[in-house]
């Protein structure tokens, strides 16, 4: 008689689990790092309100002042056009890859030669284990549970 091979419950559970690939993990990391660059987490409290000042449709009656006003306005607009560029656009316009070093790009510190240190992503203490699903680190089964509930596949704060 051939004995039926017993399968391990743990192996089975593992094979059912979703595993995030390297690209997704990298994407998550860069999203986290981008979040650390934000000036504000909340929305501008003024964004829901109409812009201050009189509404544009109101007719103006002072004819004498108008030409001068108009001139200043176009100047301001020109200024805004020219100076309203974000960091990425400005960096691209610099064409640094074609320029002689040293420059902004070459000045960035290189990757460290020291081995990475690993910390539990829940409590922050040194960790020994890696979450098989997302690659996050944890230090104890308690933290692993919290991690699975809050941050493993979803992202709650």
């Amino acid at each position: 008689m051939v004995l039926e091979k017993k399968s391990s419950a743990r192996v089975e559970a593992d094979s059912r689990r979703r595993v995030l690939d390297e690209a997704t993990r990298q994407r998550r990391l860069s999203r986290q790092l981008e979040a650390l660059e934000k000036d504000n987490f909340q929305d501008d409290p003024l964004s829901s309100l109409p812009p201050p000042g009189p509404t544009a449709r109101l007719p103006t009656f002072s004819e004498t002042e108008e030409p001068e006003k108009k001139k200043r306005k176009t100047r301001g607009d020109h200024f805004k056009q020219r100076f309203r560029k974000n960091f990425t656009t400005l960096l691209e316009e610099e064409n640094l890859s074609d320029r002689a070093e040293p420059n902004y790009l070459s000045a960035e510190a290189l990757p460290s030669s020291l081995p990475p240190r690993l910390f539990c992503c829940v409590c922050g203490f040194p960790s020994h284990y890696t979450c098989t699903t997302c690659g996050g680190r944890y230090c104890s089964s308690k933290c692993l549970l919290t991690h699975r509930e809050t941050r493993c596949l979803k992202w709650t704060l």
Binding site: N40, L46, E93, A109, S112, L114
Partner: protein, 396 residues
């Protein structure tokens, strides 16, 4: 002619006439939850009674000036009658810019200073050049110094040989005060209390409780202990902006180690957060930033320079900026550099009395030096030769 010195940082402007005292003023605008229709500029921050959920509008992105609308509003306020009452027809200005500032930003800067504000003469420079001037005027016998400039957006390492900036040795570590505050905000929000909207409050928490550990893993062990043995843990009382105007650390003897406080204040309990956050300056890879930490980057910078200068650099490392103010920073940096530097070279790290205003003080000295007139660009010069003359004279 008066000279206005403006160290124009991404988070705070250090400003004052060269004959007077310096003032540190936020270089941004704010909106508050309570007075929703108003935008507060620079030091009008003090008028906000309840700065919870404070919204920031910053002129800088990643350390570079991009939002000119905001910057001009802040400058209008600073130069105007409420603050410095600048008489542009009789004023020269020294203004700082980041290292490797983009050429388009430099041109905008020329135009705004000369054409919009009409300053009589301008000196655009790096904060480090002013610091170096400060350092060499107080220690004329030294030949070289290496500045560590820890700011809001990033940390720069800049070697100077006399007044000459050694561009090939400049290193940038993309860890600054903003990142540390945001990281602290994030871990507190995840572990105990949602404070993501409270950048202003948490920045204060960071300044009040964070420190640089001298024995990182030992402190990790201590901060894991229970009760009285845990000498790292602190309870921070959050401000409610009615009875508690400013947050503070509970004194050790009033701390309750088990159970809750009966006073009803809102408390943050901080243990490993206290030193794990500034640790990013030494190990950015801890949060996945693949860059060297400050000590490693300093060694890397020095090694890229001529060997006969190495001894001078290791002996004259000067800390400037607000982000190096964490207690223990100087000691830890010196210890790590001692371990990394060649054994026969002495290592010394200098922490000036006021690292935030060290460049400004340098600007003050420079404004009073006899050859100041020769290094500036005057308005007539600019009107005649345009950007070219600025490019010639200023080394950004």
């Amino acid at each position: 002619m008066a000279t206005l010195v403006l160290d124009n940082g991404a988070y705070s402007a250090k400003i004052g006439f060269s004959q007077e005292k310096v003032r540190v003023i936020p270089n941004c605008q704010f909106r508050s939850k309570t007075s929703r229709l108003k935008t507060f500029t620079a030091n009008q921050l003090d008028e906000i009674k309840d700065p919870s959920g404070l919204f920031y509008i910053l002129p800088f992105q990643k350390g570079y000036l991009v939002n000119w609308d905001v910057q001009r509003k802040v400058w209008d306020h600073l130069f105007g009658k409420e603050m410095f009452k600048v008489d542009f027809t009789d004023t020269s200005v020294i203004i700082t810019e980041p290292y490797f500032n983009f050429s388009s930003i430099q041109e905008s800067m020329n135009e705004i200073l000369f054409e919009e504000y009409q300053f009589q003469s301008v000196l655009r420079t790096n904060a480090g050049s002013l610091s170096a001037h400060h350092f060499f005027s107080s220690r004329p016998s030294e030949l070289c110094c290496l500045l560590v400039d820890g700011g809001f957006s990033f940390t720069h390492i800049i070697p100077y040989c006399r007044s000459k900036k050694m561009k090939e040795g400049i290193r940038r570590v993309n860890v600054g005060g903003k990142l540390l505050t945001n990281h602290l905000k994030e871990i507190i929000s995840y572990r105990q209390l949602h404070v993501m909207d409270e950048t202003h409050v948490i920045n204060q928490v960071k300044e009040d409780v964070c420190y640089v550990s001298q024995q990182f893993f030992k402190d990790m062990e201590i901060s894991q202990m229970k009760g009285e043995e845990n000498t790292v843990v602190r309870d921070y009382v959050l401000p409610d902006f009615s009875s508690i105007k400013k947050g503070f650390c509970k004194p050790r003897e009033e701390m309750v180690f088990s159970g809750k406080y009966k006073t009803g204040e809102q408390i943050l309990r901080l243990a490993n957060e206290r030193f794990a956050v500034p640790e990013m300056l030494f190990h950015p890879s801890d949060i996945g930033i693949q860059e060297m930490g400050i000590p490693e980057a300093i060694v890397h910078s020095i090694q890229s320079l001529p060997e006969e200068m190495h001894a001078h650099f290791f002996q004259n490392i000067v800390l400037t900026g607000g982000n190096i103010l964490f207690p223990g920073f100087r000691e830890r940096l010196e210890a790590e550099l001692r371990a990394l530097a060649p054994a026969h070279l002495p290592v010394s790290v200098l922490l000036p009395d006021n690292p935030i205003c060290y460049p400004w003080e340098g600007g003050k000295l420079l404004a009073d030096s006899p050859d100041y007139e020769e290094i500036v660009v005057t308005r007539e010069d600019f009107e005649e030769n345009g950007h070219f003359i600025c490019e010639e004279k200023f080394d950004i």
